[in-house]
Structure formats: C-alpha cells, structure tokens
Subunit: 429 residues, 2 copies
C-alpha cells in the first residue's frame, strides 16, 4: 500500500492567470450580506423578467412535437439556422445599405456575448499578445484576457468613448517599440459602455476602424465591438453597428446578446464575424460545449418570431429609464454639492460612472468600500475596470448599476453612499 | 485612405491545434447526405426525447412566478445549490458507505460532461503535458487535449476497459524517460465506453487508482472518470463511481451528464471534484460562460424532484436495449460469417466497437468508407479514437452507434455495411 503524503496538484498556467477574478469576490460579498443594496451587479431587474412570455413560448414549443423534439436534441455548433436568419434580418441587415457583405452564415450563436469574447480571445491570442481597450473597460473581459496571457493596454476614453487621438498615440508607441506584430485587437463596448455609460460616436467609430486598418501592417488588428447593451436605449438615435462601417467586412467583429434584453437565465448571444473567423470560433466552441443548448435557441427564436421580444424590450426600456432617472436624481440630490464628485449621464445600458475627489480611494481595500458594505451598499470599485498598462488606474472611481434594485432602493443606496463618501472625506481631512 | 492589401489574420496556437476536429467532417458528411443511415452520431434517439415531460416541467416552472423569475435570472458559476443537492443525494451519496468525504459543494454544474472535460484540461494542462488514455478513447476529448497542446499516450484496452498491466508498463516507460513530471491525468470512460462499449471492472478501477497514486511522485496524477453513459445500463450490476473508490477524495474526478439520459438540447452535466479543483474549474467557467443557464438547471432539478427523470430513464433503457439487440442480431446475421470480423457486446451505452480483418482499412480515406457513404451508411472510423502515441492506430476499426436510428434502419445499415465490407474485401484480394 502506497502511503506517502499527497503530492501537489499542479495546475496550469492558464489556471494561475485565471484565479483572481474580481467578480468572484464581489459575488461573495453580496452572498455574505444578502440585505445589501446592490449597485454593483450587472444583473437585470428581476421584476422585468419575461416569465409569462417565456412560459407561453415554451408551452408552444412543446405543444408541437416536431419543434419540441428539435429543441431537446443536439444542434449544430454554429447555432440554429432559423435563429441566425432571424437575428440577421432584425439586428444585422438593417444597419447596411443596399449592399451587405454578410449573410446569416457570418453569425455564430454563443452562451451570451461573453462567451463570444472568450472564443475570440482563444482564437486570436497567444500569451504575450497585446489588446488595446478603453480605460475603463468591461472588467470581466479584462480578466479573460489576462487568463489568456495577453497584455492589455488602456487608452483614454471620455463621455464619447475611446479617444481616437489617444488611440493613435498608443499605436505609434506600440509601433516604435517594435511591438505591432503582437497587437491583435482593439476592444470597445460601443453602446452604453460597461462601465463608463458612454456611447462611441459615429465619427469615432469610423476613425477607430480606419486606425486599425492603417496599423494592420504585420498582421490584422481586429476591432471587437461589444454591442451587448445596444437594445437598452432610453434616448438618442440608434447608431449602426461597427461591423456595418467596415465595407470589406474584414476588420470588425460585433457581439450581441439577449441576456440583457430578454433573459440571462436563457443566455443566448451571437457574434457577427468575418468569414475567416467563423471557422475558428466554431472549432473552439466545439471543444467548449458543442454549441449552445438548442432549447434556449428555440425560445429566443420564437420570442423574435412572435413579437414577444420586441414587446418585452419596449417595456424594459421604460422600466430601466425610470430607474436610470431615479439614480441620476438621487446623485443630484445627495452628491451634487460635494466638490469634485462627477458622474456621466448614460443614454442607455445599466451603468453610471462616478468619479470621486482624486485622493479618495474607492478600491476594495479602501475605507470607503468597507464603510459602504457595512452600511448596506455594494458597488463595483472602478479600479477593476482599468487595464494594467497604458493609462493610470483611477482608484477614485465607481461603477454604479441601476439594473437590479428598485427606484426606491436605488435612491436609498445613493443616499447611503453619499453619507459614506462624506464621512470618509471628513475623516481623511 | 489606406489601400494596401488586407493583412493576414494571424490566429492563435490554440486555434491551429483546434482546427481539425473529425466531428466537423462527419457532421458535414451527414448534412450533405441527409438520407444516410447514421451509425455514426452519438446523438440520442429523437423518438425517445422527453417532450411531454419537459413541456410539463417548464409549465410548472413558469406557473410559479418566483421559480420562473429565478430560472430567467443569472445564477452562480458553480450551479444552483438545489440542483447540486439533488445530484449529490441521487448520484453521488449512494456510492459511498457510512462515510462520504464529499458534499454538494464538490459538484460543479457544466454544459454537459464534455464542458467539464474541457475545463479540467484548461485547469490541469500546459502545452507539452501528458495525458494517458485508453486506446481507443472518446475522440472529441482527444481533440480537446490536442488543442491544449497535451500529448496523449494510449494504453491498450480490452473488453474490460484499460488494462492495468499495460498502464503500469506505460507508467514505467514515462518514468524512465524522466517525463513523470509532465504526466497530469489518466482519462477513462468507465461505463459503457465511447467508443469501445466496454465497462471497466471494479478490480481494474481500484488498480488504476492505486497506480495513479503510486506514480504521483512529482505531482498528482488525476484519474478523470467520464461516467456519461452510466445511466444507460441494459444489463449487469451497477458499479460504484470511481470517485467513491478513492477514500481520500484527492485523485479522482467523476463526470456525469443528463444529455444522454434526459436531453442534449438542455445540456446539463456535472463534475464531482476534489476540493482543490472546485475553485479552479469555477474560475475557468467564469470566463467561458458565467455558469450554465439557470433555466436548464431548473428543468433538470424539477425532472429529478418530480420523478420525471427516473421514469424517462426507465423508458430509455427499454428503448435502447431493443436497438442494441437489433444491432447485435444484424451483426450476427450479416457479418457473422466473415473471417476476422469481431465486435463487442456492450451492456449499456450507445456503441458497438467493430474490428475488421487487419488489412482492411475503414479510415475516412479508405475505399470502404467511401463505398459505405455512397451506399447510404455513415460510421465513425475507429482511427479517430486512437491517441497519437503509445499504441498503434488500428485503421481496421469502426465505432457503430445504435443511438439515433430505428431498429429497422439499424438492421438495414448493418446489412449495407456488410455488403460494402465484402465488396471491398473481394476487390482487394
């Protein structure tokens, strides 16, 4: 009998890079304090979830034996052709003029847009490769990129999204460092940014694509346009997807999802991909899950075909706009008089980006964060959202979400947060 | 305006390793020839899918607003605690005696057992690491391992699964080559093997775990026990899971799934993991999809709680046993008289492993494969199922599945295959 001590379980480099995702710590905080007002979670409002609609959709699927059978069987890895055709007709084709270089075969169905981002990372990036992202950026994808061993270089962004002049300066810098051959992608949340709430203007979209093309010298620099929040628009005109601004359909990937606009518990998203990337993404997805569950794809397809989706999104926009307005009003009321506290008014999405006085840290180790949790409010420390290189990490920032809580609790959360900010400011004077 | 030719899209090493999964080619064959009798697909029989049950389960979920809401919201990455408790009580706890070292917290819910295998690979393996697998083995996981850059070493298996004596010889060889520090795992499909139809005997299970412990000198060698087919048992006694044979719960991972026993279109599986691996798998899954869709987990949970699952599996066993018997009878009738053609009688699962005369290739490039497709029958060439090192690749082998087709079409498929074999043998004489 072999009785030596248990030898070490030696995990992969990929594991060691993945181990510390901030979302885990935040979820633990939330679970440990169930009464917390969560201004942190990017979850959707539970009161808006399409329970009745989904009940009717699933009933109609299983009432039809042929549909029910297909929904319960394996599908293809790229996703149901009928669903891809629906998505193409509704969310892709209308962005294009007379000529559209894409077909439904350029769409791959994924487990939310998040999985598409992961698959793109796996397909494009080797350890040491570079990705440019706005500072701040969607922190979960920053974590994925660092798991893949990529180096993420931040570029300044303002209320109109990533600044093309700052991007160009970064590109010049990367080029003069002889690193252009490692630069694989520019990542943007182009509508109602997570976390910054900003929408990239049309002229910036065009300019960023142009820069990607111009600096694609050693190899192609892909523009990854995360369009997850596009349906959650509360004011202003809709802009065409970034894919539609690349006439040759070679430099841009657009990612969309029904998680925010319908249900994250169903978890269906998609990517619109240049031909060359479709096979790559499909090969990777084959290894990960063989294609998204057919049942979930059927539900979304039927939601689109029956008009249930559009009705739901219309209602959602009304509900979220009210909550956004509640958050903005509370910010005015409770934080309006504090010097050097500023925030952005988002035209859609779920987030308000808040900047505190320069010396006031909102980091997870800060007095403010601990006081806020103690008083019953959870937020996402903005520092999680800054790439590790290229720009400074601004610890005096906060991502606020009006996604989950009611208007009343949002206002109350902001009131408490304001007290915590004032108290922390006073004690640090 | 920038007008140079489009620069190369340079994909990752991971992509280049992933690009050529045989399953893609097989699916293309099947799609291009929709009339084919598929003795290839590991799909479940469409006529057995639980349409009525799932219709009732979803109706009951959405009839309860609180359940409906939970089903449509995000969940936790490890999976619903209620579902994990159900799986633990039914499929884990009963394998143990008085003491069980595991709790439901050792379970992680995944998109089928296949995703668990992927996550294990990502968590354990760096390029150049070694995994030992039976020859033949589940070819999709062989593809995943090669995407991860792992070297897969095959060990001879017979009708009782992997041969421990051959495993020990391989371990000695790896050790004397100074490679033991690269050996991370031994992979087994321990019930009704895909593709070989064999079940690993209890004594071999114990011996293999013992060998893994004994050779865990530089680091731990995990035994990955793929138990996807365990519920599809048609005769013989049920064996306890491999996890239950490792008293200290440190060396074995068992993977299970409801894809085969309930529905692949719902796609819920699980892993029973030593404590140290739970966090690793969860961190990786966070990047891939944030946790499996809540709706799907609810459906499975309700199927277990209402007894719908057990009724379904009972029916499934009857249906598949009939089809297995139809395939075995047709093999007797049509191939019984051909010299050197042998096959194994599986006690469960979906597969029969067929060996042809030594000089008769069944590979995808072979005359036999093309003739079979031309005459309307698709099979999985056995050569896909052999690891690239350690043992010879036997091109004269075929994985037959009785999963998808009716008993009549199975018999007809075997009849046609027999004619193709005889014809190819005659023309090669």
């Amino acid at each position: 009998m072999f009785t030596a001590p248990v030898p070490e379980l030696r995990l992969s480099q990929s594991f060691h890079r993945a181990a510390d995702q901030p979302i885990g710590a935040l979820i633990s905080q939330a679970l440990a304090n169930p009464g917390l007002i969560s201004l942190a979670a990017g979850f959707v409002d539970p009161s808006t979830l399409p329970i009745e609609a989904t009940g009717e959709l699933t009933a109609s699927i299983f009432a039809d034996p042929s549909m029910g059978r297909d929904a319960l069987q394996y599908g293809t890895t790229t996703g149901r052709p009928d669903l891809r055709a629906e998505i193409f007709d509704r969310f892709v084709r209308p962005d294009f003029g007379a000529e559209c270089p894409f077909t439904p075969d350029n769409l791959v169905i994924t487990a939310g847009s998040n999985q598409l981002l992961y698959l793109l990372g796996e397909s494009l990036l080797d350890p040491g490769d570079i990705v440019i992202a706005a500072a701040p950026s969607y922190f979960v994808f920053l974590g994925t990129l660092s798991q893949l061993g990529a180096e993420v270089v931040g570029v300044e962004a303002d209320g109109d999204g990533m600044d093309p002049a700052a991007l160009e300066a970064t590109l010049i810098e990367i080029k003069s460092a002889g690193q252009l051959n490692r630069l694989k992608a520019i990542y943007l949340v182009s509508y109602f940014d997570n976390p910054a709430g900003s929408t990239l203007t049309a002229s910036r979209r065009a300019k960023i694509i142009e820069l990607a093309k111009q600096y694609s010298q050693d190899q192609r620099i892909m523009v990854i346009s995360d369009e997850a929040y596009r349906p959650l628009s509360y004011e202003g005109d809709d802009l065409a997807s970034m894919s539609s601004m690349d006439a040759a359909s070679e430099f841009v990937v657009s990612a969309g999802t029904f998680s925010k606009s319908f249900s994250p518990g169903i978890r269906v998203g998609w990517g619109l991909l240049p031909d060359e990337l479709v096979d790559a993404i499909t090969a990777q997805k084959n290894n990960i899950d063989f294609g998204s569950p057919n049942l979930n794809q059927f539900i979304v397809q039927r939601a689109l075909q029956t008009g249930r989706y559009e009705t739901h999104v219309d209602n959602l926009r009304i509900a979220y706009r009210l909550k956004r307005d509640a958050m903005l009003a509370a910010l005015d009321q409770y934080l309006g008089d504090i010097d050097d506290v500023v925030w952005r008014r988002p035209d859609g999405g779920l987030y308000v980006w808040l900047t505190l006085p320069k010396h006031l840290s909102a980091s997870p180790a800060s007095a403010l964060f601990h006081l806020a949790v103690e008083r019953g409010v959870l937020y996402v420390p903005g520092q999680y959202c800054f790439p590790s290189k290229g720009t400074a990490v601004h610890e005096n920032t906060i991502r606020l979400s009006f996604g989950v809580e009611s208007a009343e609790r949002i206002a109350d959360g902001i009131r408490i947060l304001s007290l915590c900010i004032q108290e922390t400011l006073a004690s640090s004077d």
